[in-house]
Symmetry: C2
Subunit: 486 residues, 2 copies
């Protein structure tokens, strides 16, 4: 065991002890802990936003919004927990007349998995980092969290960790319920540790796949929730382009260059009818008007420029070649539906940064054909008009995408009950789950059934008196009292 | 591509075409297809039970019950589908006042994954084979199924497949929605095929782990739902043993020798206070009274005898050494809590067949200590009396088990809304899922969110008019009309 491994071993062992207390906590307790964290983030807003600005070069407005989202998310997940929704409490009373033969009393509830390892993302210093969506979901589930701080914002990571642990302590949560580690070796030791029961990760396909295989090859494999990458194609029907091509082009350039294109939902493809000279000029002009800012890290800038250069070698034409350095000017490529049919890899290589590709089609049937060539996506968008025949296109997109948008742009992911941020590989490694929205909590729970247990030995969620007042499915029917299920 | 691969390629390609029709079917359609299969199984009951009896050597009563369970399961899952429960339809209307900033209209529903590969089990020729729980769940989800027939009952597998495909055709389901393949090479090609979107498997830890790694190392990894093995410990408190030791011993012997111990829920461990000479004699006598019958296959008998012989090499004492041949007499070992603390592997090696181990403890605190040494389990049982201090024991069991029983026996798994048949590795490869009960359907679906889609372009499950009449969560609150959610 190396020194890093030994440190991580101590951290995880402490986390396990904290978990053993936290797992019996009530929804009310956990909601209070999460509320305390949200309050602390809000009361240190100026300090955190300044620190994040220094380390990430992201504009202040964006960071303010992201911090709002982060504290909102903690509160929404806490609120949802009070309804009992994530617990899915289900009670089947003993039934002598049950169709396959008498059934015993069986009651099921979701219980927390245990210690969860959460890897922070480079591009969301708040919302997908220390106490972002994954950590919030794991805490709501009743898990302990060991967070791997991203090397792109270490000072912010340490400071946020301090605030979270202080807030938890003040709110009476078990000590060590939330801890952080920071080196790459720490991260690997975390994935390997026998007491870690699940890992979540947001980052590159390369690193994500390595960690996924690491989690699967443990003596006891564990769930690995990796959000790896997405191209986020936007399909424009002929009528939509005729009606509002100019505004679509302008919005597209704004969306793919927003935050220097460092969003997992950046539109990397725009599929349009053959561009007129005027269309092309408008796009090039719009790209030219964007003033580049520094990318999150010099390494990311380097990786982006390399990916962009590789793309330039394929059957694409550069409308805007893009810049170099740590704040590269945005790039725009174009190609045709015929070319991508020949070489679908054009549509599969993520350029994480301000670059995108316009794929021009000759006839509208090519829209669905191009869609069929895509790998798994977080999002896919259709820009269309009422009456457009998009049934086949939508079916192709639904089959490979987590979120399908109409006449919008994929950047900006609202945290709601219905949100789905996920998708088939390589968008994620776990297509049946989401990392945003209230359903994200489910990733960190597993169901346990209790057969014929005396009422006092059952967890409160399943006791006859329903002391937590949660929604429950009883003998096949949902029943109150409940906040969520009337 | 070998001949087998080419055959499987054709089968899967046809299945994909069938899926592309089936995915848009209504819950009513699918429920009707599943009901037609159940009707066909029932109307061929005598033929199927006779065929299964020839190939599996299982007693007729057991096979009759298993067939009842299989058709019941199809109908229960179909009925649950009509309530909309597996779809988890969730609608968030656009909201300008949403806490993190205005939210768009977002609606989420679970959609079928695609073609699913289902591996049949040796030990349940109906309930976990051709049209058992996994296939029923996949069809309910809207998936197409390619089933790998188990080599332990090929004629039954082929005949059942015929009946299923005929019933589906008569009910108007898409052609090739259900197909079967049969060789080992077919099974491997199935796991590898790019159009296969998930695999479910019930069998040994060795084969399950190999297939799991195969599924994870595909260019596009897919979910692998493996149910691999379980020891199913039964913990007896001192008072329970004093009150009813004789009946516990008798029921235990009956449970671990039932169906020649070929159940994934066979109790492989009984943890009791130190046995008196009389206790020991009663156990030995009970084991001696069991008349062995042939195991499912000669290979399974061979594997069982090998596992039993390896166990005999450990720090255990044979109370009944067990027999040889294809119908071996049951074996009973004993050891102490101190010995298993020394060598926990004693409690981790599954002997798939009629053998079990009695672990004797000196003081009751050892119960929880022994529990802490267990790997993931499908079930764990406590035999106790009112007022026993079992809190610590139950916490240890809940942390590593899918189903916790009180004063019962783990064999016999009822198909209900609350049932949970799963658990942490090695019980299964997917601890957040179940393979029995209505929640089993979720394994074969994934959520898709639709943002700002015009109502006519939404799937019916999410349209304003709720044409399927299913339960839906709207703006955080569950609403009717619904069968399941009032």
């Amino acid at each position: 065991m190396t020194k890093d491994d030994a440190d991580v071993d101590q951290v995880v062992t402490r986390a396990q002890r904290a978990f053993e207390t936290a797992r019996d906590s009530s929804p009310q307790d956990r909601a209070q802990w999460m509320g305390a964290i949200a309050d602390s983030l809000e009361s240190h807003r100026a300090e955190l936003v300044a620190l994040a600005g220094e380390e990430t070069h992201l504009p202040e407005g964006r960071l303010q919004g992201e911090l709002t989202r982060t504290s909102f998310q903690l509160r929404l997940l806490a609120e949802d927990l009070l309804t009992g929704e994530p617990l899915e409490a289900t009670i089947d009373h003993a039934d002598e007349t049950w169709g396959m033969g008498p059934r015993p009393d069986i009651r099921r509830v979701n219980v927390p998995l245990g210690v969860v390892g959460v890897f922070g993302a480079s591009n969301f210093p708040f919302a997908f980092s220390v106490i972002g969506g994954d950590s919030a979901a794991a805490l709501a589930a009743g898990c302990a969290v060991v967070h791997k701080i991203h090397e792109a914002h270490p000072a912010l990571g340490r400071r946020t960790t301090e605030l979270v642990t202080e807030a938890l302590a003040a709110a009476g949560a078990p000590t060590d319920l939330f801890q952080a580690v920071s080196t790459r070796a720490d991260g690997e030791a975390l994935v390997d540790h026998p007491l870690v029961r699940a890992v979540s990760f947001t980052g590159s396909e390369r690193v994500g796949r390595l960690l996924m295989e690491r989690a699967a090859s443990r003596p006891e494999p564990i769930p690995f929730y990796g959000e790896l990458g997405s191209i986020n194609p936007v399909f424009v029907t002929r009528r939509a382009w005729e009606e509002r091509g100019a505004s679509i082009a302008a919005e597209y350039v704004q969306s793919f260059t927003l935050g220097m294109g460092q969003f997992c939902t950046k539109p990397g493809l725009l599929i349009t009818p053959t561009l007129s000279e005027e269309d092309t000029r408008a796009l090039v002009d719009a790209v030219g008007e964007v003033s580049p800012s520094p990318m999150l890290t010099p390494q990311l800038a380097e990786g982006f420029i390399a990916a962009r250069s590789e793309m330039a070698e394929r059957q694409v034409r550069a409308l805007a070649p893009g810049g170099t350095g740590t704040a590269p000017a945005p790039a725009l490529f174009t190609t045709t539906a015929a070319e991508v049919t020949e070489d679908p890899q054009i549509m599969r290589e993520e350029m994480f940064g301000p670059a995108s590709i316009v794929v021009q089609y000759e006839n509208e049937q090519e829209l669905a054909q191009v869609a069929e060539l895509l790998e798994g996506q977080l999002t896919a968008t259709v820009q269309g008009e009422e009456g457009d025949d998009v049934e086949e296109l939508l079916a192709a997109l639904e089959a490979r995408t987590g979120r399908v948008l109409w006449n919008g742009w994929p950047t900006g992911v609202s945290v709601t009950y219905a949100q789905q941020h996920g998708g088939p590989f390589p968008a994620t490694t776990a297509p049946t789950t989401t990392s945003v929205g209230t359903a994200a909590v489910r990733r960190f729970m597993r169901p346990v059934a209790y057969q014929n247990l005396p009422d006092p030995l059952l967890p409160p969620s399943l006791q006859d008196a329903n002391p937590w007042g949660i929604a429950r499915r009883v003998d096949g029917r949902w029943t109150g009292p409940q906040a969520g299920k009337p």
